[in-house]
């Protein structure tokens, strides 16, 4: 499969947000010269940010249009030697899996960008809306985050992937820290709030990624010589395509054992832990509720919609593609932890009082399905896991936007505090009901397709244990229905709590973001073929590697 540069469209998509970013920086630099007022600069940076998001989405749609779903090899390749000394290449390329994630990123960021616009309704002064604070800085960081995520999904060179992976960290730290909730002392005595959640997020992910760094270097030194973009031969390689070929040829299985543990397994675990923290997997999930509760709405949307998927994507792209035997070796463990993720997450949701925390834990539960699909290693299950990533990527932004709608008005997310909202906000109740149904996996909506495929695939897995695992995790279907309907009951049904007389129904900015997502959920649920076709060839090659 020749890897010569054949189109720059992908590079344009990845770096469009970066261009927007530089435009805003230029604007800031020129501000004294042009004597722009603060308000003008804010408006301009919002405009530039929106344009960048829209252009990025358009480009990603263009990518989808002329993407050939028939073959599984990389398309839109842009490759040149970046660092001769270490055989590092700037190598961007997409196959089915990456493309689906790139498009999802573009869509979710567009939604996030719209949700970052100033709130159209009447704004009460003592709760200044986050979208009015330090606007240029916010949009610069948002666009930097988007470039980082695009790069993570599109890069096919391990070093480049690692750099983009870490580039995602910095903007996220500041976005949660500066624009999140002010730091506060919780009743249980621990200080929480934006800064606390930001540093916790940064520490968790950095701890994971340093393990990945060691694994990256170990793989590099264990890799066999390979051709570089400029035709020369390098002693080792970071190029993912070559690494996969070498893995198939048994280069890594032959490598020297480290500290007595076979090389392949230890490196697999190193990489897996780095990605598992982001998914989030069971023992490492406690940063997610904190990050969601204290992040502003659009950042929660992006965090839940996209950043969780980078972890899963990493597992498919690296753990499954390069170390299939170790995945088979670890499949039992991952399966069991996945089930814990699903059932434990669902049960914990039942007891949550804060709406955003409930949605965060439900994300933990839903991402458990992707893990189960990965562990089952059948083509149906893996297809289901990838679809679940896309489906959850559409449904969870909706849920967080809805949490944002009620927070912007009532400035509290305490489920018990509400009651009978249906009387005051009927449209909001209808769309929240729809979102809850989509999330609990009502057939005909996006959530169901992913779940049923993972269950079917896992049930037909080679290993007997997976049938037991599916039976247990199927319990979550009931618990999820339980906590969602109970939330519906406490917030929307029952007698109206007159404390909320002043609440107004949804305004247009919220509708623009929510209704397209609702339509997408129905479309994905009723006609999932386009996404499944795009991904099937890639999954077949991944499976062929087993």
């Amino acid at each position: 499969m020749d890897l010569t540069t054949n189109s720059l469209l992908l590079t344009w998509t990845v770096f469009t947000p970066f261009l927007g970013l530089t435009a805003i920086l230029a604007l800031l630099a020129l501000r004294p010269a042009l004597r722009l007022s603060q308000k003008a600069v804010d408006e301009a940076s919002r405009g530039i940010g929106m344009i960048a998001a829209v252009v990025a989405t358009a480009l990603s749609i263009a990518l989808w249009v002329d993407f050939d779903a028939g073959t599984s090899n990389l398309q839109f390749i842009h490759r040149f030697v970046w660092m001769k000394a270490w055989n590092i290449e700037f190598f961007l390329g997409v196959d089915g899996l990456s493309l689906s994630m790139v498009i999802l990123t573009a869509v979710v960021f567009l939604v996030g960008a719209i949700a970052s616009l100033p709130w159209l309704g009447k704004l009460d002064s003592h709760h200044p809306h986050f979208s009015g604070k330090r606007v240029p800085g916010y949009w610069i960081l948002l666009l930097l985050l988007e470039t980082g995520v695009f790069g993570t999904f599109a890069s096919q060179d391990f070093f480049l992937f690692y750099v983009f992976w870490e580039v995602m960290l910095l903007p996220m730290y500041f976005l949660i820290g500066i624009w999140g909730a002010p730091s506060r002392k919780d009743p249980d005595g621990r200080t929480r709030g934006g800064p606390y959640a930001a540093i916790k997020f940064f520490l968790y992910t950095l701890a994971g990624s340093v393990l990945m760094l060691l694994a990256l270097i170990a793989i590099y030194y264990a890799s066999a010589p390979a051709m570089l973009a400029d035709g020369t031969q390098g002693p080792h390689t970071f190029n993912l395509v070559h690494l996969t070929a070498q893995a198939k040829a048994g280069v890594f299985t032959g490598a020297k054992a480290i500290l007595g543990v076979p090389f392949v397994h230890l490196v697999f675990v190193g990489l897996f832990l780095g990605f598992a923290i982001k998914v989030p997997m069971f023992p490492f999930h406690t940063w997610l509720p904190d990050a969601h509760v204290d992040a502003p709405t659009p950042i929660s949307v992006i965090l839940a919609g996209i950043l969780l998927k980078t972890g899963m994507y990493g597992m498919f792209r690296f753990n499954m593609q390069i170390f299939p035997e170790s995945l088979a070796w670890a499949s039992w463990a991952i399966g069991i932890i996945a089930v814990i993720n699903i059932v434990y997450g669902a049960f914990v949701c039942m007891a949550q009082k804060d709406l955003k925390k409930l949605i965060a834990y439900s994300s933990v539960s839903h991402m458990g399905f992707c893990l189960l699909g990965l562990a089952a290693m059948t083509s149906t299950a893996v297809n289901g896991a990838v679809f679940q990533m896309v489906g959850h990527g559409i449904v969870s932004p909706m849920l967080f936007l809805l949490a944002g709608v009620v927070y912007d008005r009532a400035h509290t997310r305490d489920i018990e505090g509400f009651g009978g909202l249906a009387q005051k906000m009927p449209e909001y109740t209808a769309i929240t009901g729809f979102a809850f149904m989509a999330s609990l996996g009502l057939p005909g909506l996006a959530g169901f397709v992913g779940e049923v495929l993972v269950f079917l695939g896992a049930f037909a897995a080679h290993d007997g244990i997976f049938r037991v695992l599916v039976a247990i995790s199927a319990l979550s279907v009931i618990i999820t229905a339980g906590y969602y309907l109970w939330t519906m009951q406490r917030m929307f049904l029952g007698p109206f709590n007159h404390r909320w007389d002043h609440l107004s129904d949804m305004n247009w900015r919220e509708r623009i973001t929510l209704y397209p997502l609702a339509v997408a959920t129905v479309l994905l649920g009723v006609w999932p073929a386009p996404v499944l076709d795009m991904v099937r060839e890639t999954v077949n090659t991944l499976m062929a590697g087993m």
Binding site: M83, K84, A85, V167, G194, P195, F202, V210, L214, I258
Partner: protein
């Protein structure tokens, strides 16, 4: 004879500059532009030295029959010290802690320390090493105590001088034993001689060699501020004026590391690949030392409130990372150290410049003074954030590349002990995020106390900040020129 002189061209130029500044100091009266003119004289001298440095023949011969070697490592670090001196003098001019009256003295002392450092890195002879070490240390004792009236500054100087004297005393004793056993002062010959005697010799001989080598290690350890010889560093760094601290944390430390490399790798030929030279398991020993230094530096930095003291512990931690490279001793490791050093210089000097600027305006060095700086002076805050995140080793900044090279070299070594060392190193850089992010949190995430003055940064500082910040960012993405330079530096063993 001429070739010998040519080989130490830059040093001669430096000496000439010192003399010139001395005379200029006397001639230039108390005119307002006193600092600027003295600074220009110093810069001119440094430029001349740089020119001489460029003229140095590549892979030049060793001068003074082997006492001063002109190999790649020496050349690389001498170039680095000229840059460090330039920034040292510039910082001195900008800082309020150096009165204009005594700026001349400051420059002279600084340049003579640089001179000492240049000799230290290229010294191939035990005597030469001791002399160079003393030439580096003595002026820095005085520099540490530069603020005559201030109790803390003189106390710092006192501690520095007593500790330094004791350490170099022990080192002299160690050298004497080495000389005794090897019969020669030339480093290149000491190693093989000791190996020969260690191979055949009884336990007593091997014990003798161990004592001799380790006592001489004390000198280097003190210079690098590696554990257990680091205790002077936090107090001196905090007491000394900021420009001096900045220079100390970069200059002498780098010289110490280079000298240690030459002493251990060239002298004893000790590297992971070769068998334990002179009966001493150097890699294991230095590895443990590295781990101790890293961990102590990072852990002690966390509870700090004074930013200078925090950066002091951070520089101890970075000394630990460098020691990790020295412990491995392979050519890749030396290249990694050579690459790490300039990046470390950029980051550290940048951070200290920011501290200097904030101290000039608010007069305090505690973290509280930095609260809300993001809004009060965005450019300074952004630059400081870049330096701090680069020190943590987060891509896309240069610090990551430095650490990447180091960890790659350590992992390439391939022995189980060094996997553990790499793991400890990696975990340390995560722990280091604790205190760097605490400062960043103060900068951006906390609101500035009401009525806090807008920190107007003078143009010179802004310019220098940019000069330091831009390469820190750029080299995170495009670092091949620096990598090839570092490869030449490691050429000694290639």
């Amino acid at each position: 004879m001429l070739s010998n002189l040519l080989a130490i061209g830059p040093e001669l130029a430096l000496t000439a500059t010192v003399l010139l500044v001395l005379i200029a100091d006397l001639l230039i009266g108390d005119r307002p532009a006193r600092r600027a003119s003295l600074a220009t004289v110093a810069f001119a001298g440094l430029a001349a030295a740089a020119a001489a440095f460029a003229l140095l023949p590549d892979g030049g011969p060793s001068a003074f029959d082997g006492m001063v070697s002109g190999d790649g490592l020496g050349r690389f670090f001498r170039g680095l010290f000229l840059v460090a001196a330039f920034f040292g003098v510039a910082f001195g001019a900008l800082s309020d802690e150096i009165p204009a009256r005594r700026f001349g003295e400051y420059t002279i002392l600084l340049l003579s320390t640089t001179l000492g450092m240049c000799f230290l890195v290229s010294a191939q002879n035990l005597l030469m090493i001791l002399l160079a070490l003393e030439l580096t240390s003595l002026p820095s004792y005085i520099l540490a105590g530069f603020r005559r009236g201030d109790r803390r500054s003189s106390e710092a100087a006192l501690k520095y001088v007593l500790y330094g004297a004791a350490a170099s005393g022990l080192m002299l004793y160690g050298f004497s034993l080495l000389y005794g056993m090897a019969g020669t002062l030339d480093l290149a010959k000491v190693g093989p001689a000791l190996n020969a005697s260690a191979a055949g010799g009884s336990v007593a001989i091997r014990a003798g060699i161990a004592v001799a080598a380790l006592l001489s290690l004390v000198g280097f350890g003190y210079k690098i501020a590696a554990v257990p010889f680091h205790q002077w560093a936090p107090d001196v760094y905090e007491g000394a004026p900021t420009p001096v601290t900045a220079f100390l944390s970069v200059g002498p430390k780098a010289a110490g590391v280079a000298a240690l490399i030459r002493f251990v790798v060239v002298g004893f030929g000790a590297s992971v690949a070769t068998p334990p030279a002179g009966g001493l398991p150097w890699p294991m020993l230095l590895g443990i030392l590295a781990m101790a230094t890293m961990t102590l530096g990072n852990l002690a930095a966390i509870p700090q409130d004074n930013v200078k003291r925090l950066l002091a512990y951070s520089s101890i931690a970075h000394a630990g990372y460098l020691l990790m490279g020295v412990a491995v001793g392979t050519p890749e490791a030396i290249q990694a150290i050579a690459l790490y050093m300039p990046i470390y210089l950029l980051m550290n000097l940048g951070a200290f410049l920011a501290v200097l600027a904030v101290r000039a305006k608010t007069g305090s060095e505690t973290i509280a003074a930095y609260r809300g700086l993001g809004t009060r002076s965005p450019f300074l805050a952004v630059c400081l954030a870049i330096f701090l995140f680069s020190l943590t080793g987060v891509p896309p900044f240069a610090g990551f590349i430095g650490k990447f090279y180091l960890f790659a070299a350590v992992l390439k070594a391939g022995t189980p002990f060094f996997y553990i060392v790499a793991l400890v190193g990696v975990l340390n850089s995560v722990v280091s995020l604790f205190y760097y992010a605490r400062l960043v949190k103060a900068l951006f995430l906390e609101a500035s106390p009401t009525g806090a003055p807008v920190v107007a940064v003078p143009f010179a500082t802004t310019f220098l900040l940019a000069v330091l910040a831009i390469p820190t960012l750029l080299m995170g993405i495009w670092w091949s020129p620096l990598a090839s330079l570092a490869a030449k530096a490691a050429g000694i063993a290639e």
